[in-house]
Amino acid sequence: MRAGLSSMPSTLRTSVGGRRTGRPGWATLMAGLVLALLAGCGPIYSYSSAPAIAQPPAQAPTQAAPTRPGLRALVASVNPFRREAELPAPQDILTPEVLARATTPLLLMQYEDRVGWALFQPIVQNGDVLTWLSDSGESLSFDSEGMLQATRGLGRDLMTADTAPITRFLGQGRRQGTDLLRVQEFLDAQNTVLRMAYICDVTDAGVAPRRLLNATPRLRELRETCTGGDGREFTNLYWLDPVTGLLRGSTQWVSPENGRVTLEVVAQ
C-alpha cells in the first residue's frame, strides 16, 4: 500500500502537488490525508529484533509453483486505486506448447464479467474435495464431480457450498432433473454468514462444438438453472465428454459480487 501514492487516480495525484489560489491549506491537507492513509498502511521504516529461536529458512507449507502472471492484475481490478492492467488473453500465453511443458495439473479460471484470469494447481485433497491454489494466493476447491465448493482470496468469497444433490445426480450420469437443492454460504461485511438456498433444474443442451482454451471439441452441455429465495437466478454450465462423461470444462457462479467464472483443467 506504500505504492498507493503513485498508483492513485491522476486527478487525486494532481491535487496533492497542485496549487490552488486562495486555498492555501488545500494541497497540504490533501497531502496530510494521503499521509494519514499511508500511516494506516505502512511505516517509513521499521525494525524488529530477531526471534529467540533460530528460524529455519521460511518454508511455506504449500509449494507454490511458477504460473503465468495475471492474478495480480485480477486482484488489482478490485483495488480502485490501481489502474486495470492490460492483460493478455489466456490463449495468447497458454499455448499448447507452453502447457505441454507443465509438470503439474493446471486449472484455468476466467471471470465472465470482468477482465482477469488465473492459473491454479492442486495442493491438498481433503476427502472428496480438492483444493487448488494460485501463486498470488487465491484458492478454489472442487468436489469429485467438479462442483465448486469454496473460494478464498477472491474477495467476497464462496465460503461453503452444499451441492450434494447435484453432485449425486451427475455422478449417476443423469442429464435431466428438477428441484435439486443447492445451498451456498457467504460472509457479509460484518462477518455474518449469509446462507442462500437455491432450487435448481438441470437440462441437457445437447452435443455441440464448445469453445475451450485451445480446442473446440464436441461436448455435451448440461445447464443447471438455479433460483434462490432472494430472487437471484443463475445458470451453471457443465461440458461433458459425450463418450466418457468426464467434465471438460464448466462455468459456475461464485457469489453475487464475483459473478460466474469459467473453469477448465488445461494441463493434466
Binding site: 490525508l33 511505516p43 525494525y47 521460511a58 518454508q59 507449507p61 504449500t62 483495488n79 455474518t192 459480487e257
Partner: protein, 719 residues
C-alpha cells in the same frame, strides 16, 4: 476557513467516492433507499424535518452554507429508529462584528411509527438539547407517501421551530405550564444547560413540505418553514422575506449528494452530503491470501507408521516443533510464543498482530497446525496472547477441522465444537519464542482536533517515531515521539477562563508549536492476577499532558457480556513545550483519579460503559458511554460526564460530552488489520469531568479476544 473545511470534506469524500463500487447499495446489501437530507443533515426537505429515517447504520456528513450560515452535521443512524446528530454551525458576525459565532449542538430523532398503507411515518425530534440551546427546538412530524415518487410531511414545532406564526401550545390542554417556555438567557458566549423543563413548552407552529423524487437521482423539495431566524435577521446576517423554501438535490453516486436551495426568499444555499454505511465497505473484503487448507492425516489402516507416537519422546521434538511452527505461523503473520506437547495434544500460544478478528487468527493457526503437527496429535490448543498475557484458550479437535472444512454451516458447527476457556490464572511465559523483543519504526502521522470553538479543523502532520522493548513477556517499555512538520495549531489561542485548575482547558498549549513532542514514554507490566482477571501497571509519561502512575484491574470472563474494571491514576501535569519537564504555575496540577467501570455488550453490537469515580480537577462523578460497534471494527458512540462541578463552574458547554468514531483501515482496503483510528469530537474541552488518557486500557485490548465479539465474527474462522 470555510474553504478549508470544504476542502477537507471534499478530499475525504473524494477518497470515499472513488472507492465506491458501481453497484448500488440496495443491490449489494439490501439497504433501503436513503431519504432526502435537509440543510441540517437529517432527513427532511430544505430546513424542516421529515419523519423518515436513514438506513440502519448510515453515517452521513452534510456541509451546507446559505446567507452567512454554515452547518456541518454528522448524523448516525444508531438503530433503525434512533438517529443521533452532532452539528457544528457558524454564523457570520452574529454577536460580535469582528468574529463569527460558532455553535456545537446535538440532536436526537426517534421514529415513533413506521409508515403503513394508511398511516404516515411519525418521528419526534429534539434539536440542540444540552448545548447552547441557540437552535433549541422540538418537533413531531408525520410523513406519508402519496404517490410512488412523492411524499408529504406535516409537523408541529416548538422552540425555534415555532418562531414563525406560532400559536398557543396545544399541549396546554394537558397542563397550562406547557404554554410558556422558560427563557434561556442566551448571550452567545455562555452555555445552555441540560434542562428538560423547556422541552415542548411555549408556542407551537406548523411546518410542512413535499419531496418529489423526479428520477432515481434527482429530487425536488419544497417546504413551509416555521423558523423565523429571529436572532439572525435582527442582526442582519440575512433577510427573511418568505417562509417558503424550495430546491433540488442530485445524487452524484452512492456517496455524494449535491443540493441547491432557495431559502427564505432571499438566499441561495448549497449542501454537499457524504454518506457511508459501515455495513457496506467500498472494497471486497477477503482479498488477503487464501489460508493454508486443512491437510488431512493419512488413513491409519494404510499408513499406521504415520500415526506413531514415538516422536514425542525424542529430545529433538521440542526444537523441531518450535522451528517448524514458528516458520509456518510466520507465513500468516502470526507470532509463536510457546509450544507444549504430548503425543496427542499440542498447545501453542501466539500473538496476533495481523487479523482484526481473533477467529480468523485461530482458524488459520489451526489449519497450519494440521500441516506440521504429527498425525497422532488429535487436540490443538491455541491460546491468544496480548502484551504477554495469555487471554483466551481455544481447544479444537483436529478431526473436526478435517471434517468441517467444506461442510455446510461449518462456521457455526466449528464454533459449537470449539472449547473456549479463559487461559488465565497463569503467569506470563518466561520467554517468547518468536516475538521480537525490540521493535521500532518511523511513520507519518496526522493529528487533528475537529470543531474547536475557534477553528473548525486544527491539525498537525509530521513523523512519529515509536519504539517498543519487551525484555520479558508482559514487561514493556514503550516510547512515542512525534515531530510536527506542518500544522495550523497556532490558529487558536484562547486563554482559559476556567475557575477550575487548568487540567484540560489549556490542552492547546501541549499540541502547539513545531518542537518534538513526547507522546508517551512508559514502562508497563501486564499480568493475569487470577482467573478472568487482567492487570496492568503503567508508569512514566502517560500522555501529552500527564505523567505518573496508572494501574488497572479488569474482570472479563471469556463468555460474559459484562466486564468490570477498576483504575487508579496518580498523575502530575506536564509542562507544555518541554520534552520531559513537569508543569509549573497554572500547570502545577497533580491529581489522584480513579474509576470503577462496568462494561456491557448488548446484542447487535451495542455497548454501554459506566465509569464512576474521581476526575482530574478532583471532581467526583460518572461518565456514561454508549456506542455501536460494528463487527468489522467500526464504532460510533457518544459519551457524557456529569460531576459535582456545577455548570457555572464548568463554563461553556455545562458538562463534558462528545462523540467518537473508530475507523478501521481494513474496511477501506479489504485486507485484515488490527489497527484502527479513533476520532473524538468534543464541543469544547474544559476542566470538569476530565480524565487521563492511558494507552492500552485493558477492556479495549481484551474485548475482541472474548465473547460476544468472538462468536459474532466466527465466520472468519474459515476465511
Amino acid at each position: 476557513m470555510l474553504g478549508r473545511l470544504f476542502a477537507l470534506v471534499c478530499a475525504t469524500a473524494f477518497g470515499i467516492a472513488t472507492t465506491a463500487s458501481a453497484q448500488t447499495l440496495a443491490e449489494r446489501e439490501g439497504i433501503d433507499a436513503r431519504p432526502h437530507l435537509s440543510f441540517n443533515g437529517t432527513p427532511g426537505m430544505v430546513d424542516m424535518p421529515s419523519a423518515y429515517a436513514m438506513p440502519d447504520g448510515d453515517l452521513t456528513l452534510s456541509v451546507g452554507h446559505f446567507g452567512g450560515i454554515t452547518r456541518a452535521s454528522l448524523a448516525f443512524q444508531v438503530s433503525p429508529r434512533l438517529t443521533g446528530v452532532f452539528r457544528w454551525s457558524s454564523i457570520d458576525t452574529l454577536f460580535d462584528p469582528e468574529r463569527d459565532y460558532y455553535d456545537r449542538s446535538f440532536d436526537l430523532i426517534y421514529r415513533l411509527a413506521d409508515e403503513t398503507r394508511f398511516r404516515p411515518a411519525i418521528s419526534v425530534g429534539l434539536r440542540d438539547f444540552g448545548g447552547t440551546e441557540f437552535f433549541a427546538s422540538e418537533y413531531i412530524v408525520a410523513s406519508k407517501q402519496v404517490h410512488r415518487r412523492v411524499n408529504v410531511s406535516l409537523g408541529l414545532g416548538w422552540g425555534r421551530l415555532a418562531s414563525q406564526n406560532g400559536f398557543t401550545n396545544p399541549l396546554g390542554i394537558l397542563d397550562s405550564s406547557f404554554e410558556t417556555r422558560p427563557i434561556t438567557a442566551f448571550s452567545g458566549t455562555q452555555t445552555g444547560e441540560f434542562r428538560l423543563d423547556s422541552l415542548f413548552h411555549g408556542d407551537a407552529a406548523v411546518f410542512g413540505g413535499v419531496i418529489w423524487d423526479a428520477t432515481d437521482r434527482l429530487t425536488f423539495v419544497a417546504e413551509y418553514s416555521s423558523d423565523a431566524y429571529e436572532a439572525e435577521t435582527r442582526r442582519g446576517v440575512f433577510e427573511r422575506k418568505s417562509s417558503v423554501n424550495f430546491g433540488a438535490s442530485y445524487d452524484v453516486n452512492d456517496v455524494v449528494t449535491l443540493s441547491a436551495y432557495s431559502l427564505y426568499g432571499t438566499e441561495i444555499g448549497a449542501v454537499a452530503t457524504f454518506k457511508l454505511n459501515p455495513k457496506v465497505p467500498p472494497t471486497a473484503n477477503g482479498v488477503e491470501r487464501a489460508p493454508q487448507p486443512v491437510r488431512p492425516r493419512p488413513d491409519p489402516q494404510r499408513a499406521p507408521q504415520a500415526w506413531s507416537t514415538a516422536w514425542a519422546a525424542q529430545p529433538a521434538a521440542q526444537p523441531a516443533l518450535e522451528q517448524t511452527l514458528t516458520a509456518a505461523l510466520a507465513t500468516e503473520g502470526l507470532v509463536l510464543e510457546t509450544v507444549e506437547f504430548t503425543a496427542t495434544k499440542v498447545s501453542v500460544s501466539l500473538r496476533n498482530p495481523r487479523f482484526g478478528r481473533a477467529a480468523q487468527a485461530v482458524g488459520r493457526a489451526a489449519r497450519i497446525m494440521t500441516a506440521v503437527v504429527p498425525a497422532s496429535v488429535e487436540t490443538f490448543e491455541i491460546t491468544l496472547v496480548q502484551q504477554g498475557m495469555a487471554t483466551t484458550r481455544f481447544s479444537l479437535a483436529r478431526s473436526d477441522l478435517e471434517e468441517l472444512e467444506f461442510a455446510p454451516d461449518n462456521a457455526w458447527r466449528s464454533y459449537a465444537r470449539t472449547e473456549i476457556t479463559d487461559a488465565g490464572n497463569q503467569p506470563n511465559a518466561r520467554q517468547s519464542l518468536a516475538a521480537p523483543k525490540l521493535t521500532f519504526g518511523l511513520t507519518p502521522y496526522l493529528d487533528n482536533s475537529l470543531f474547536d470553538p475557534n477553528e473548525p479543523i486544527l491539525f498537525d502532520i509530521g513523523v512519529r517515531a515509536r519504539a517498543r522493548w519487551e525484555p520479558r513477556p508482559g514487561w514493556v517499555l514503550d516510547a512515542s515521539l512525534r515531530q510536527p512538520i506542518y500544522g495550523n495549531r497556532d490558529n487558536t489561542n484562547r486563554p482559559s477562563n476556567s475557575v477550575l485548575p487548568f487540567v484540560r482547558s489549556e490542552q492547546d498549549d501541549f499540541t502547539r508549536g513545531n518542537d518534538p513532542k513526547l507522546e508517551r514514554l512508559t514502562f508497563a507490566h501486564y499480568f493475569r492476577p487470577g482467573t478472568n482477571l487482567y492487570g496492568r501497571v503503567t508508569a512514566g509519561y502517560l500522555e501529552l499532558a500527564y505523567a505518573g502512575l496508572s494501574g488497572e484491574v479488569l474482570w472479563k470472563p471469556p463468555s460474559s457480556r459484562l466486564a468490570m474494571g477498576v483504575e487508579l491514576n496518580a498523575v502530575h501535569q506536564r509542562a507544555p513545550g518541554s520534552l520531559f519537564g513537569l508543569g509549573e504555575g497554572v500547570f502545577d496540577n497533580d491529581a489522584l483519579t480513579g474509576h470503577v467501570s462496568a462494561y456491557y455488550a448488548f446484542d447487535g453490537g451495542y455497548r454501554a460503559q459506566l465509569d464512576v469515580g474521581r476526575y482530574l480537577a478532583e471532581d467526583w462523578g460518572s461518565t456514561v458511554t454508549f456506542s455501536r460497534r460494528f463487527n468489522n471494527g467500526w464504532e460510533v458512540g457518544a459519551f457524557a460526564t456529569f460531576t459535582d462541578v456545577s455548570s457555572e463552574e464548568f463554563g461553556e458547554g455545562s458538562f463534558d460530552k462528545g462523540v467518537f468514531v473508530t475507523i478501521p483501515p481494513s474496511w477501506f482496503v479489504g485486507q485484515p488489520s488490527v489497527s484502527d483510528a479513533t476520532s473524538v469530537i468534543r464541543p469544547v474541552l474544559r476542566d470538569g469531568g476530565a480524565r487521563v488518557s492511558v494507552s492500552d486500557r485493558l477492556y479495549e485490548m481484551i474485548q475482541d479476544d472474548t465473547n460476544p465479539a468472538l462468536q459474532d465474527s466466527w465466520g472468519r474462522f474459515w476465511r
